[in-house]
């Protein structure tokens, strides 16, 4: 009897252990080094205090250091990067070797899978494996900076050779300041999406490039109903997009002509007050426009489930004539791919329509130096400044290594070489997109750059405003996922006809109104 009871207990225990194993793994994965994390976390904060104190003490010292160039050169810098830096297969080893030649510093690169990068960054900070410097998305940047995990580089920036050169787009750097302090540096601007239109379709239909919303809608109508490709079939529609509302800031970048001035997230108005843009009239109006256009078939019927690759395929296949996508090199890529099916096709990058005013430039990913770095001044000088030195360093971070990624012939003409990883493609950049650099320099490859790339990048730069920088409050951090869920559900249901605009807004008010109020109150009380 007793044995049977013991057996039962043992069996039940084993089942519990087996079934609980997956969750335990999750728990472990996220926080296995509990003790370490506490100390890391504490150290981070302590580090910040220390650094803040340091930066106070070093205020004069930093200036002195910069002026006398007495910053200690680090032997080694450890960085954590996403897929925007060239990988091993594309010649990362040659990149590291060249970096050492230029700076005399060994660069140790930690490069997790691009798709899980933010997760890996969180794990690095939870454990004690924090690098000297790393790339952070804008949302991670503000969140980590406010947690004291990043080094305040304001003084280093103020005293840097880069700033002194007068060639930096300082507005881009200033826009990254949080409460007057700089915790991250952007060697390139964030770029954003611009609307591409099939110019040959416009020509076929005798339409001109739209400049107002009415003209834009008329163009979508004509692309949907008037057989713009002239094949005698009603098999096209106006515009495609990978979702109606984006999953991250700036949210509205895939269908900007419909969103116009609406911004469906928290933002600071001109008078300094914070509001939840999802509850404003501009958002209601935008939902109305989207719903109307969708019901008429002007917007891709599959907009709620599209992926970006599916959208590109539809655009290449000639199903749709309007697609809002990244400015710059994507102009060339999109046109080349469309032309592979329709050799006469031509794309036009659309200047923002009057009601839109400006495209939105996303806040750029930044390079940040962690509070755990032993020699942050050295990391700033030898790592970050090398990206914008207007010379060998910038050349390396932009175009890669001579002989591996580009070459120069006897006449001094540059030529970009095939990507070591994908030899059919030309290697375009090692990390910094040449058209987005925040440091003006004499780019030796400027003359060979594709006109389409230059045109759309310049059009975007001239007609964009940077997305608002939001420093999350505690409640916002805790409930951001819940709010994003609620907004995505409502927007997709309203636009595709499952719900009226009024019902959608009412549902948001009912389910998320109180939460939204408390976040707005927190933001306004700061």
């Amino acid at each position: 009897m007793r044995r049977s009871l013991a057996k039962k207990i043992l069996t039940t225990g084993l089942i519990l252990l087996t079934v609980l194993f997956p969750v335990a793994l999750a728990g472990c994965g996220k926080g296995g080094n509990n003790t370490n994390s506490v100390s890391t976390s504490d150290n981070s904060n302590a580090g910040k205090t220390e650094n803040n104190t340091d930066s106070g003490n070093k205020e004069a010292g930093a200036t002195e250091a910069a002026s006398t160039e007495e910053v200690t050169k680090p032997d080694k810098i450890t960085i954590m990067v996403d897929g925007t830096l060239l990988d091993k297969a594309s010649g990362q080893d040659a990149f590291v070797a060249r970096f050492k030649e230029i700076t005399g510093v060994e660069l140790v690169i930690i490069q997790p899978d691009h798709n899980t990068y933010s997760d890996q960054v969180a794990l690095a900070f939870t454990s004690d494996s924090v690098p000297d410097a790393l790339i952070l998305s804008n949302q991670l940047y503000t969140a980590y900076a406010t947690q004291g995990a990043l080094w305040d580089m304001s003084e280093a920036w103020n005293n840097s050779a880069a700033k002194a050169s007068g060639q930096m787009k300082e507005a881009n750097i200033e826009a990254l300041k949080i409460d007057g302090s700089l915790y991250g540096f952007a060697p390139a601007s964030g770029n954003g999406c611009i609307t591409y239109v099939r110019q040959d379709w416009l020509d076929n239909l005798g339409l001109s490039v739209p400049t107002t919303y009415d003209q834009y809608i008329e163009m979508l109508r004509a692309f949907t109903e008037d057989d713009p490709d002239g094949n005698g079939k009603k098999d096209t529609y106006g515009v495609t997009a990978a979702g109606i509302i984006g999953p991250e800031i700036p949210y509205t970048n895939y269908l900007p002509e419909f969103w116009q001035s609406a911004y469906p997230d928290f933002y600071q108005k001109a008078d300094g007050t914070w509001v939840d843009g999802f509850r404003e009239t501009a958002n209601t109006d935008a939902l109305g426009r989207l719903k109307d256009a969708y019901s008429k078939g002007y917007i891709d019927m599959e907009v709620a489930t599209n992926t970006t690759s599916a959208c590109r395929d539809k655009f290449y296949a000639g199903n749709t004539g309007v697609f809002t996508y990244w400015a710059g090199k994507w102009n060339m890529t999109l046109e080349q791919n469309v032309q592979s099916t329709y050799p006469d096709a031509k794309l036009t990058a659309l200047p923002p329509i009057a009601e839109l005013g400006n495209y939105i430039e996303r806040q750029p990913p930044v390079w940040a130096i962690t509070s755990a770095s032993k020699n942050p001044e050295g990391v700033f000088k030898y790592l970050i400044e090398s990206m914008v030195d207007g010379g060998d360093g910038q050349m390396l971070w932009t175009y890669g290594v001579e002989g591996v990624h580009y070459e120069k012939d006897a006449s001094g003409t540059y030529k970009q070489l095939p990507d070591p990883e994908v030899p059919d493609n030309t290697f375009l950049s090692a990390h910094i997109d040449p058209v987005l650099t925040t440091r003006q320099w004499e780019d030796p490859l400027y003359s060979i750059r594709d006109e389409r790339v230059k045109t759309s990048a310049e059009l975007f730069q001239a007609n964009s405003k940077i997305a608002p920088l939001i420093v999350p409050t505690e409640t916002m951090s805790a409930y951001m996922a819940t709010l994003l869920d609620a907004r995505s559900i409502i927007v997709s249901k309203v636009v595709t006809g499952d719900m009226s605009v009024e019902d959608g807004i009412a549902q948001y008010e009912k389910e998320q109104g109180a939460l939204s109020d408390s976040i707005v109150a927190e933001l306004n009380s700061k």
């Binding site: 089942i15 728990g27 933010s118 951090s477």
Partner: protein
């Protein structure tokens, strides 16, 4: 000195251990690895009771994470969906696997049988991302194969957005799962069918049993043990739906498609400072439910068959 029975047994056990001592030595690495990688990580369960972000904590919060969890509307939607989708999927795929196994078992031509077996196994080896792409194309409202067929034969007059309509999403999900997993599911049933004593069929034939009677009175009873075992084993995984849902769902169908694992994923990865304590609490809750389901099924099995499998 006279040894008691107990002492004799003890001695004999020790002798056995000594005799097989090298086997015990060989198993030591396995035990150590199991402890390191299976049981030590389970200590992470405690974070369900803590507030724990990359920069904060762990601070003990008692049951606060669970209170927050149980007051969250989206969590309950995800919980309900997990139970409905998982259970229906399990029953449907098991049922279809049994039916297909029985049909394959009836195929007399060995070459044809092998061919069909291989054919239906193949989808199992496709990744869920590929499967989702294939079905998105087939079910597309824009000239997708399914909509075109339905329109051509007059069943519908305008296309259906199968992947994004709440009324259709689960049906699509079940069909996709059946297509992908039926072949794999038949393996164990076919193995059981192969093991049925042919003399039973011969005896039944002599007694005048037709094919249907043989299936009803010999094949199905022989399979019933395997079916129950498969069901119980799969019940342990009932709360672990993720990939198949993640690649097929969208915000528009969260009300019928969002499951606990996708909910955890969004709570963790769409926020810059995830609270690992909260998401561990969700995971712990789902594991406890999974454990309860297994024990319940084992209990039912004991009642029905007279013995459990655990």
């Amino acid at each position: 000195m006279k040894l008691t029975t107990k002492q004799l047994k003890g001695n004999s056990r020790f002798k056995k251990i000594w005799k097989y001592r090298w086997f015990y030595v060989m198993i030591i690495p396995v035990i150590i690895l199991s402890l390191m990688f299976f049981y030590y990580p389970m200590l992470g369960i405690r974070f369900a009771f803590f507030e724990y972000t990359p920069f904060k904590g762990p601070n003990f919060k008692g049951f606060a994470n669970f209170e927050e969890l149980f007051s969250n509307h989206q969590f309950w939607i995800a919980f309900k969906n997990t139970i409905i989708i998982s259970t229906t999927k399990l029953v449907l795929t098991t049922f279809v696997s049994v039916v297909v196994s029985l049909l394959l078992n009836e195929v007399a031509n060995l070459a044809a049988k092998k061919f069909f077996q291989t054919l239906i196994y193949l989808p199992h080896f496709l990744s869920w991302v590929v499967v989702a792409s294939i079905f998105s194309i087939i079910l597309s409202p824009q000239h997708g194969f399914m909509n075109e067929v339905l329109i051509q034969i007059g069943i519908i007059d305008k296309p259906i957005y199968f992947m994004a309509e709440s009324g259709w999403w689960r049906k699509v999900y079940y069909v996709v799962n059946i297509w992908k997993e039926t072949g794999w599911g038949t393996i164990i049933f076919l193995a059981t069918l192969t093991g049925i004593d042919p003399q039973l069929y011969e005896a039944a034939a002599i007694d005048g049993a037709n094919r249907w009677a043989k299936m009803r009175f010999i094949t199905l009873p022989s399979l019933s043990q395997t079916i129950i075992i498969v069901l119980i084993l799969n019940l342990a995984k009932i709360m672990n739906l993720f990939e198949s849902v993640f690649v097929l769902y969208s915000p528009k169908v969260y009300d019928v498609a969002d499951v606990l694992q996708t909910y955890i994923y969004r709570q963790t990865l769409t926020t810059p400072l995830p609270n690992f304590g909260y998401t561990t609490a969700v995971g712990l809750f789902s594991s406890v439910i999974g454990c309860f389901m297994v024990l319940l099924c084992n209990h039912t099995s004991k009642r029905v068959r007279g013995r459990g499998i655990l």
